[in-house]
């Protein structure tokens, strides 16, 4: 067995233990803690401005009891959850497939990597504006292409269900590069000999995937999934320019509701309550999910 480290070594490690974690903690304490606390405190108050000064009135849980009766919040929660599940699943599958293929080919790697990253380089508002034009039933290029092959065009953003799917398509186009990038990085840091060993063993592509690649990639997959889920719950840019939450409440998403209530209607207390509830729901989802995968990883 190895000899225990010398005392000086241990002290040095202890000191560096703090130095290396301190910057991150500093950022969080100074910039993250204050707004979170502020949010929770606001959610228990009513805030009005009079004579140039703020007046905070404690209302306890009043906002939280109002939430279930708010039609936008109900629609927002339902839509956002469905949106997140559908969009993120599609993005994970497509992103993984693309990353897998790009990691296996030789010719055109750099080209494909660059191309597949393009959508996230473009600002969200531009994506929203351009896709809105493309979806235009009269002049949009999508319906024009449909017309070329003899199909009738659709009113992509005009009717409830279809509008919802159209927004998901834009999200997939926008965010699959995120998944692609992380999973590709994960794949490229796997030891090369594993793939060769699997091939020599005569494993089929599916077997290799299931027994070797995915288990080894699990940490990256989990992180990617978690962050993609969180970010999709915050979806805003696409909805803002494409549909504004309509038609009706078909594409109303939580972050949009929060934006509407918190900012446009200047109801900071109530808007904070919606944020806190959304946080809660999301945290629950993530914790459950992490719990499940941790068990999976340990049994491996």
């Amino acid at each position: 067995m190895r000899a225990p480290p010398a005392r000086a070594d241990a002290i040095q490690v202890d000191r560096w233990r703090f130095y290396t974690l301190a910057p991150a903690l500093a950022v969080y304490l100074l910039l993250a803690l204050l707004p979170i606390v502020n949010l929770v405190v606001m959610s228990a108050h009513d805030i009005r401005w009079q004579q140039g000064a703020a007046q905070w009135t404690l209302v306890g849980l009043k906002h939280y009891t109002e939430l279930p009766r708010d039609p936008l919040v109900r629609a927002g929660l339902a839509n956002t959850t469905l949106f997140a599940l559908l969009a993120v699943t599609a993005e994970m599958l497509i992103g993984f497939a693309l990353a897998l293929f790009v990691s296996r080919i030789v010719v055109g790697r750099v080209l494909y990597r660059t191309i597949f990253l393009l959508p996230i380089l473009i600002p969200g508002i531009v994506i929203g504006a351009i896709w809105k034009l493309m979806y235009n039933p009269d002049f949009g290029i999508i319906n024009q292409l449909f017309g070329l092959v003899g199909l009738a065009g659709f009113d992509w953003l005009g009717s409830g269900r279809l509008a919802f799917m159209s927004v998901i398509v834009v999200d997939i186009w926008h965010w699959t590069p995120f998944v692609f990038l992380l999973l590709l990085a994960g794949l490229e840091s796997l030891p090369e000999d594993i793939h060769e060993a699997a091939m020599l063993d005569g494993a089929s592509a599916w077997q290799e995937l299931r027994r070797v690649t995915i288990p080894m990639m699990l940490p990256v997959i989990v992180v990617t999934l978690a962050f993609r889920l969180i970010v999709s719950f915050k979806v805003f840019d696409e909805v803002y320019l494409l549909t504004g939450g309509g038609p009706g409440t078909a594409t109303e998403v939580l972050s949009f509701t929060i934006y509407r209530r918190f900012f446009t209607e200047d109801r900071m207390g109530y808007g904070s309550a919606i944020s806190v509830v959304a946080l809660f729901v999301l945290t629950l989802v993530i914790v459950l999910f992490m719990g499940m995968t941790r068990r999976r990883m340990h049994t491996n």
Partner: protein, 461 residues
């Protein structure tokens, strides 16, 4: 005494030089002053100021006017330009801070009530007791005045807080070329408009009427207000007097909504619920709309060949009205106010700009950039008679009746309710009676929670 020529000349020269200097200086001052000032009033030198404003079609015109101010007076003005929603946000941050960043706030009617009720603005007379809003400046539903005790915009009982910057209201845009071809007359009532729209409706090339049926922070509710008001309906019974009985589900309101929904059904595009302001204007520009009612600020695009397919083919008239009502466009205008939380010298400088801005010459310059001036007398200027300004008659006739959509800080919440329910009505998800009843319930709820004196009408059947 010996005549000392040197001393004599010296003693004569000195006063002479002094006199000459005095003459030259006065001449320079007068000439310089005349060169910088308008005919008449000399403009004082004040501190530099920052105006916070949003990017918009009329911004170009406004910035030209600001340049003229800088040249004429030698005072410096910085423009902080933002996207529309962003401007409101930044203004809000600035007035709530200890010391404000911005000296003149260009506030849209959407957040004007919030700023008045919040007490963030300073009465202009506390900066200069002699300041008056020029009588030629239009009223804009008294939004330049505020009565802090009664909490309402009232020119009689309130004091002046702001100068209008842009008088944006809705008008009726129509295809004059199609009118000529079909021999139609400009409609006075909504029924006449409906008939004209039906006549010109030939989908999918041209839709008789394109409306802002979409749901957003302010689309369909803003679009529908002129119908409501011109049918003698209203959201509240008497806002100015403080009676907030909810009357959104009155029989008159139902008539107004029926007219709106039927127009969409009979002469509108297949998906009226997805047309926001930009889409309506696009429909006009691409020639797809025979009628529409966007604000006058959209006008400059129509005669621009890089943006419009219908240059010279569109004209503007006052909005129609309901039976027994008057044309009542909704105000979407901007007021320039001065916040409390900036130092006195910047307040003085800001007021100097506003005072200059409301002058006749400044407004002529403004109108010449294609924007509706805030003074009535400018409308009689000769250049306003040319076809480039064919919108001016309609604006002048419309402005006296223009109304604010809401004057309470709860306004955006009310708008939110109306946006959803009206959108559902136009999509056919709810009947008009149902939509209005639900809206009435929700608005009543909001007003009650906020502590206003309110009541409800019986439900529509």
């Amino acid at each position: 005494m010996i005549f000392n020529r040197g001393a004599f000349v010296h003693s004569l020269l000195r006063p002479f030089i002094a006199l000459a200097a005095l003459v030259v200086t006065t001449a320079m001052a007068t000439w310089g002053g005349a060169a910088f000032a308008q005919a008449g009033a000399p403009w004082p030198k004040v501190s530099p100021i920052t105006i916070v404003i949003n990017q918009s079609p009329w911004f170009g015109g406004f910035s030209k006017v600001v340049e003229a101010y800088e040249k004429e007076t030698g005072n410096k003005v910085t423009l902080d330009v933002n996207p529309f929603a962003g401007s409101g946000e930044k203004q809000r941050n600035s007035v709530r801070a200890k010391e404000g960043q911005f000296d003149i706030l260009v506030m849209n009617s959407a957040w004007l009530a919030e700023f008045y009720h919040g007490g963030f603005l300073t009465p202009l007379n506390t900066i200069d007791a002699s300041f008056r809003l020029d009588p030629q400046v239009m009223s804009y539903d008294d939004t330049g005045y505020w009565d802090a005790t009664k909490k309402s915009n009232n020119a009689k009982t309130g004091v002046v807080y702001g100068v209008p910057i842009n008088g944006n209201i809705q008008v009726l845009y129509y295809r004059s070329d199609l009118y000529e071809k079909a021999g139609l007359k400009v409609p006075q009532t909504w029924d006449e408009l409906a008939a004209n729209a039906k006549a010109l409706n030939s989908p999918p090339n041209v839709y008789g009427m394109v409306q802002r049926g979409a749901r957003s922070a302010s689309d369909i509710s803003y679009d529908w207000m002129p119908y409501l008001h011109s049918y003698n309906g209203a959201i509240f019974r008497d806002e100015k007097a403080g009676d907030f009985t909810v009357t959104i589900n009155s029989p008159e309101a139902r008539q107004a909504l029926d007219m709106y929904v039927n127009l969409a059904k009979n002469s509108g595009p297949p998906n009226p619920g997805s047309y926001g302001q930009a889409q309506v204007i696009q429909a006009l520009l691409t020639g797809k709309a025979a009628h529409a009612t966007p604000v006058i600020a959209a006008w400059p695009q129509l005669d621009d060949a890089t943006k419009s397919a219908v240059v010279g083919k569109v004209n503007v008239a006052v909005l129609p009205h309901g039976p027994g009502g008057r044309t009542t466009p909704t105000l979407g205008h901007f007021i320039g106010g001065i916040p409390n939380n900036i130092p006195k010298d910047r307040q003085v400088a800001a007021l100097a700009f506003l005072r200059w801005f409301q002058s006749y010459d400044a407004q002529v310059k403004y109108a010449q950039t294609g924007q509706p001036p805030i003074r009535i007398d400018v409308y009689d200027a000769p250049f306003m008679k040319s076809p480039d300004y064919r919108w001016s008659r309609a604006i002048l006739a419309s402005l006296p009746n223009a109304k604010m959509m809401y004057t309470v800080p709860e306004g955006p919440q009310i708008a939110s309710v109306l946006e959803l329910r009206l959108n559902q009505a136009v999509l056919g998800e709810k009947t008009t009676a149902d939509a209005l009843n639900t809206a009435a319930d929700e608005i009543h709820d909001i007003m009650q929670k906020a502590g206003y004196k309110t009541a409800r009408l019986p439900a529509l059947k």
